[in-house]
Subunit: 388 residues, 2 copies
């Protein structure tokens, strides 16, 4: 039985980063760059107007002859004393030095008067002002959001090398588990953990997910684990890891030479968490109780997935004010489903490890560390934000 | 020119909720229920053990005869004075009243001694203890997270009625826009807004996205808008809405009888935002500058998408402490790309509306309301959390 921090440390040191892989830019959202990216072009690629207005070679006068020939994208030379209509983002004539905004202009048929005039060089964006060709755009490790993807598209980049997303197997064990569709047989329950984990994995950006189902039987459990280890980078096992006589998972993992890294953590819920590795592959055997399983997913599996995909191995704890006193025994970490609203955290009713209902309505998992016996009312409490 | 709050009010009142639609449970993550859901079964469906241990009819003695016949899921009657092995979640014999945890048990070949004994009825989860058949599980409007989906799967439910996700069209206008793949032509820029908006839409759960591209030409713009309105519930138009002579979008919208609801908002960036409606369809014409476009997406399009999908029309403003003084003119709302870390907000450099770089590295959009001239250093500042 180990502490939560120790468990996280062991998971971090056992988890390998995935290999870089080339993906189309439109599939790279949420992924981390495997290499620095340098700009292939100047951005903007040409001098352009920051305003809708008139490009001029600025002089002391307030009246300019109107040159009406220019269209966005055209390349012309402006004569001294001429003004030409330009729109935001469009190229300005090579020899124009200033753009005067249209709000200051009074155009006539062939001249334009300006009621105000800006400083010389105003409203012109220089070529390469934002990024020069060859300049660093994003460092390796940058996670690509929609703005990053927009920027890279604007540089003409259509694919990027990122850390691959792992293939994840979900192995579900239990004779009592029944698939939905028919009436429930005596002593059976509808299987729910695989779908729950699948949805949580997808939210975390994992899309290569394969679910394996097996009865409580040593031989077939051993075979399925072997198959799942060959086909995946990370394996989540749901159920079957307690010490019960009918629990074959530990034996089956041993036969597959999956090395136990730790078993049992000083926490509630989620005590019977098992974690092991085989070469570069890692295996979590999660508690069979759905809410414990999900709690362990947030606390342990998510940081491992982050490390695998080139992101920092880290839980983003936030701080809220506890709306009530929370008490717990010393020596184990307590995770509680909660609602955080306007910085106030309220623990939900129904914390039993089999009950998903409170998780479904929560937006936070409160974490009271091992070495605390209570969080006073209005005291600070750490939590993990859910449902992002 | 209207205020941000007024713009939001007009968008809210012009936006219609989508019709309910039946989807498979595994595709319902992030969607809002269109109807209340009642439990079809008792949960748990049978009396079961909350522990690995021994089921007994509790009596005063500490020694019980071991009944070794029972397997998880079997249904047997226990004789008085007998104990039988049970595992977490497994059915307990009908006439057993208590489960004694295995940590307190010293099993021999045909008897088991208990060093401690619990109270009568301990460690047995009653049938229907979590939910009774016919009981309300989730109210209409509940957004289904992984726990909710796990719970519904556990009730044997395999499809749910949710508010449909809208089909969204993205119309991109501009003669100067070039697709990636070849060297940039003079006066051209690589088109980036469509992909940026597509990625942002997908993150918001929208997957039916169609992109339309059109040159600056009234006839083809009118036709494409007509086509896009027929095929989508929501239309985003990127570029072409300023007052420039080459901007046909407003005319094309008028020809399609899209009614203008507002044009121009007292904000920076994003002033030239246009919003209109036609019957139950809504149209945003977003500024062509990428960062302005994205800013308007977060502030206006996301709440509209929420309302369409049965969620509250609401921006989730959070509060941080400003790491520096922020000053701005009275009378317009300022949106600034920022980093929030440990509750401290720092505005990023490069706020120009054409620059996506700071958005790419930000995790927050700071919002300084119209009626403020400054946020002092260490003053409270509102922000929208990004990159969730």
């Amino acid at each position: 039985m180990i502490q939560v921090d120790k468990a996280l440390e062991l998971i971090e040191s056992s988890t390998f980063r995935m290999e870089p892989t080339m993906v189309a830019l439109n599939n790279a959202a949420g992924m981390a760059l495997a290499f620095d990216i340098y700009s292939p072009i100047n951005m903007p690629p040409f001098r352009n107007s920051a305003m809708d207005g008139y490009a001029v070679i600025l002089n002391g006068r307030s009246s300019y002859r109107l040159n009406t020939e220019l269209k966005a994208g055209d390349k012309i030379q402006l004569k001294p004393g001429e003004a030409t209509r330009v729109f935001t983002g469009a190229a300005v004539p090579e020899n124009a030095d200033t753009v005067i905004m249209q709000e200051w202009a009074q155009p006539n048929s062939d001249t334009v008067e300006f009621i105000k005039k800006p400083k010389k060089y105003a409203n012109i964006r220089k070529e390469g002002e934002q990024l020069k060709a060859g300049e660093l755009v994003f460092k390796r490790g940058t996670v690509l959001n929609e703005a990053a993807i927009g920027l890279l598209a604007g540089l003409g980049i259509s694919s990027v090398e990122v850390y691959a997303n792992p293939k994840v197997g979900i192995l579900v064990t239990g004779n009592e588990l029944q698939q939905p569709g028919g009436p429930l047989q005596p002593g059976c329950i509808y299987e729910s953990n695989a779908l729950m984990l699948e949805v949580a994995l997808k939210k975390a950006g994992v899309h290569k997910i394969h679910t394996y189902r097996v009865k409580d039987d040593l031989k077939s459990t051993t075979q399925k684990i072997n198959e799942a280890l060959q086909e995946n980078d990370l394996l989540l096992i749901s159920g079957g890891i307690s010490v019960g006589d009918y629990d074959f998972v530990k034996l089956a993992l041993e036969s597959n030479r999956v090395k136990e890294v730790f078993y049992r953590v000083k926490q509630k819920p989620g005590k019977p968490l098992w974690f092991g590795k085989k070469d570069q592959k890692i295996v979590f055997a999660l508690p069979g109780n759905p809410a414990s399983s999900l709690s362990c997913f947030y606390v342990y599996v998510l940081p491992a997935l982050k490390k695998m995909t080139g992101k920092p191995f880290k839980i983003n704890y936030k701080i809220a004010i506890s709306a009530e006193k929370i008490t717990k025994p010393l020596g184990k970490t307590l995770f509680q489903k909660a609602i955080v609203e306007n910085g106030k955290l309220s623990v939900l009713k129904g914390q039993s490890s089999s009950m998903l209902h409170s998780f479904a309505l929560s937006n936070a998992l409160a974490c009271v560390p091992e070495n605390k016996e209570e969080i006073p009312e209005n005291g600070e409490v750490e939590y993990i934000e859910l449902n992002l």
